[in-house]
Symmetry: C2
Subunit: 330 residues, 2 copies
C-alpha cells in the first residue's frame, strides 16, 4: 500500500486531530463529538446554519470547507461511510443560533438515512433542519433526484452559504441551494482505484492502460471502460454527456470546476481545463468563474471530473462572494 498512515482504523481520528491542530484559527472539534468540525467564525447575528458532511476519504471534502463565510460545521463519517445520526444532530446543536440549519450532502443512501434521523432529533428539540441533497453526477441516473453527488457539492455549498450570509431565512436558503444543485452537472473519469486504509487494498482493479468514464467516487460503475485516451478526447466524451443533459446554449454563462480525484497532476488538470474552456468558448458559452484543483477526491484515485453550473445573475453573485476556509481560497 503506497500510503503514509498508522493503523488503518485510526485514520479518521488522526486526520481530524492533525486538521484541527493545523487550522486551529479556523476550526475546532465539537465539545461533544470528535466527528464534528466546527467553525471558529460562527456568526454573532442569527443566520441559517450550514452543515456539510458525509464519509471520509474525499478530503478536502468536507472539513476543508468549514470556515468564515462558508460551512459552519462538517460532520465526518468513517471512510466511505455516513456519519451516524447522533453526530449529524450534534452539529445542529453546535451551530444553530435560532434560524434553523440546512444539511447539505451528496445523495448516498446511508447519508440520507442518518442525516434524516439527525433532522428528526433536532425537530424533537424544536430546531428546524432542512436538507438539500446534491445530485450532480450526470451518469448515475436519468432521473435528476436519483443522481449521486460529486464535486458539485462545493458549488452548492458556496451558493447556500452566500445566501445564508445575506441573512435569508431557512426556506430561502434551501431554495437557493436547490436552484444551485439543479443548475450543476458533473461527470468524471477514473484511471485507478483509491486505496482503502484498513485493508490496504484497491476497491477495484483496472488495467495499466485503462480508464473508466462515468465512474463514481467510491468506484461505482461507469459508462464504459476503455484504453486511456488523450486528454482532449476524454474531455470531449465527458462534455458529450454533460452538454445535452444540461441543454447548454450559446450566450449562457457557466462556472467550470475541473476537480482532481487525488493523484492526477496539477499539470494534467490544467490541460483538461484548457479543453473545457475552448469547447465552451467555441459554443459561445462564457466562463464566468473557473476552479481547478483537488476539491473533492477519492484519496489516491487517479482521475478527474468536470462540473458545469449554469449561472444567472443571482447565482453569479453567490459564487462571487468571499469564502475563507483552508481549502476554499482558490
Amino acid at each position: 500500500m503506497k500510503r503514509l498512515i498508522n493503523d488503518g482504523y485510526d485514520v479518521v481520528e488522526e486526520m481530524l486531530d492533525g486538521y484541527v491542530k493545523a487550522h486551529s484559527e479556523d476550526v475546532r472539534l465539537s465539545d461533544e463529538s470528535g466527528r464534528v468540525v466546527v467553525s471558529k467564525h460562527l456568526s454573532e447575528t442569527p443566520k441559517v446554519g450550514i452543515i456539510f458532511g458525509g464519509g471520509s476519504g474525499h478530503e478536502p471534502l468536507f472539513l476543508g470547507y468549514v470556515g468564515k463565510g462558508v460551512a459552519d460545521a462538517a460532520v465526518i463519517g468513517n471512510v466511505n461511510t455516513s456519519p451516524d445520526p447522533m453526530t449529524c444532530y450534534q452539529a445542529v446543536k453546535d451551530v444553530d443560533n435560532g434560524k434553523g440549519c440546512l444539511y447539505l450532502y451528496g445523495n448516498y443512501q446511508g447519508d440520507v438515512i442518518n442525516f434524516d434521523m439527525g433532522a428528526e432529533m433536532a425537530a424533537d428539540d424544536g430546531i428546524r433542519v432542512e436538507t438539500v441533497l446534491i445530485t450532480d453526477d450526470v451518469y448515475s441516473s436519468e432521473v435528476r433526484e436519483d443522481r449521486r453527488g460529486v464535486a458539485g457539492d462545493v458549488i452548492v455549498l458556496m451558493a447556500a452559504c452566500a445566501a445564508a450570509n445575506e441573512g435569508k431565512d431557512l426556506d430561502e436558503v434551501k431554495a437557493v441551494a436547490e436552484r444551485a444543485n439543479l443548475a450543476t452537472y458533473s461527470l468524471g473519469v477514473a484511471l485507478s482505484s483509491s486505496t482503502l486504509p484498513v485493508t490496504g487494498e484497491k476497491i477495484f482493479e483496472i488495467g495499466e492502460d485503462e480508464m473508466e468514464v462515468g465512474m463514481g467516487i467510491h468506484g461505482e460503475p461507469g459508462i464504459v471502460r476503455k484504453k486511456i485516451e488523450p486528454a482532449d478526447s476524454v474531455v470531449d466524451e465527458i462534455l458529450e454527456h454533460i452538454l445535452p443533459d444540461m441543454k447548454l446554449e450559446a450566450g449562457e454563462e457557466v462556472s467550470v470546476l475541473v476537480n482532481g480525484l487525488g493523484a492526477l497532476p496539477v499539470m494534467d488538470l490544467y490541460i483538461v481545463y484548457r479543453r473545457v474552456h475552448d469547447v465552451l468558448t467555441e459554443m459561445g458559452v462564457k466562463v464566468h468563474k473557473s476552479m481547478v484543483g483537488n476539491y473533492a477526491t477519492s484519496m489516491d484515485m487517479i482521475g478527474m471530473s468536470v462540473t458545469l453550473t449554469r449561472l444567472d445573475e443571482e447565482l453569479k453573485g453567490y459564487l462571487d462572494a468571499e469564502f475563507d476556509a483552508p481549502y476554499l481560497r482558490q
Copy 2:
C-alpha cells in the same frame, strides 16, 4: 501511463494555456514569451520585482504563486529542465519598474547557469538583478550552500514578497530572502516515481512496499530505501535529520509546511502533520504557522516533505502578510 495529457511534447504549452485561461483575472502570459507568467496585479508604485521559476513538473510551483502581493512573474522551463536565459531576462523586462528584480529559485545547476545569464543580460540593459538560491533540502549536502531547493521555495518566496511589498530596496529584500532561506530546513520521502509525460515512463523503479527517505523531487537518490513504515515513524526519521541540523530548541517558534509531492492523499498529509505538531509541541517548540497541501510537487509522485522554518518576529511578520495567488490562499 496513468496521466491525462495529449502529446507529451505539448504539456507545458497546454498547461500554461489552460492556466492563464482559468486564472485570467490574476495572470497573463508575457507578450514576448509564452513561458513567462506575469501578474496582472503589478505594483503601480516602484517596488523590487520578484521573479520565481524553474522547470515544469512541480506545479503549483512556480506559476501558482504569481498574483497579488506574491511573485510578480514566474519563468517556466520544460519538465525538470531550466528555462533558458532569454526567458529569464524577459521576466525582468516584464516586471521591473525601476527598483531592480530578485530571482528566486531552487539550487539546481541548469537553473543557476541560465538565470545568471539572464541577470547579465539585464545588467547590460542597466537593470540590476540579484539572486537568492533556495537550499533547504537537508540531506542533499552537508554544506548549506550546496543543498538543493525543495518546498522551502514557497516560504522564501513569501518572505521576500512581503519585504518587497513594504517598499524595501533590492539589497534589503535580498537579505530577507537569504535569512528566510537559512532559517528553512526540509526533508522528504518518496514512495513512487513521477511519470514523465514524453516517455510515459517512471524516472526510477521502486518496490510496491518500498519508500526512499531523503529522495529529491527529480528522483535524486536519498538516504535509505526501505519498507514503507507507519506515518509516525517516517515523520520521526525525517525529524531526526532536520532537528539536529537546525539545532532547534525549546522556546523557539517555527512554521511547518507539510508538502504533498502530488499523489499522497490529503488524509495522509494531515496524519503526518499531526505527528510533526505533536513532536514539536513535546519539545517546547511553538508552531506559529502551518501549511498542509500540495505546494511543490513532482507531478504524480507519491510522497511528502516536511519543511520547518525558524521564526523571529521579523520573519513572522513577513509570513503573516496577505498573499493572493491561485495556490497561495491556504
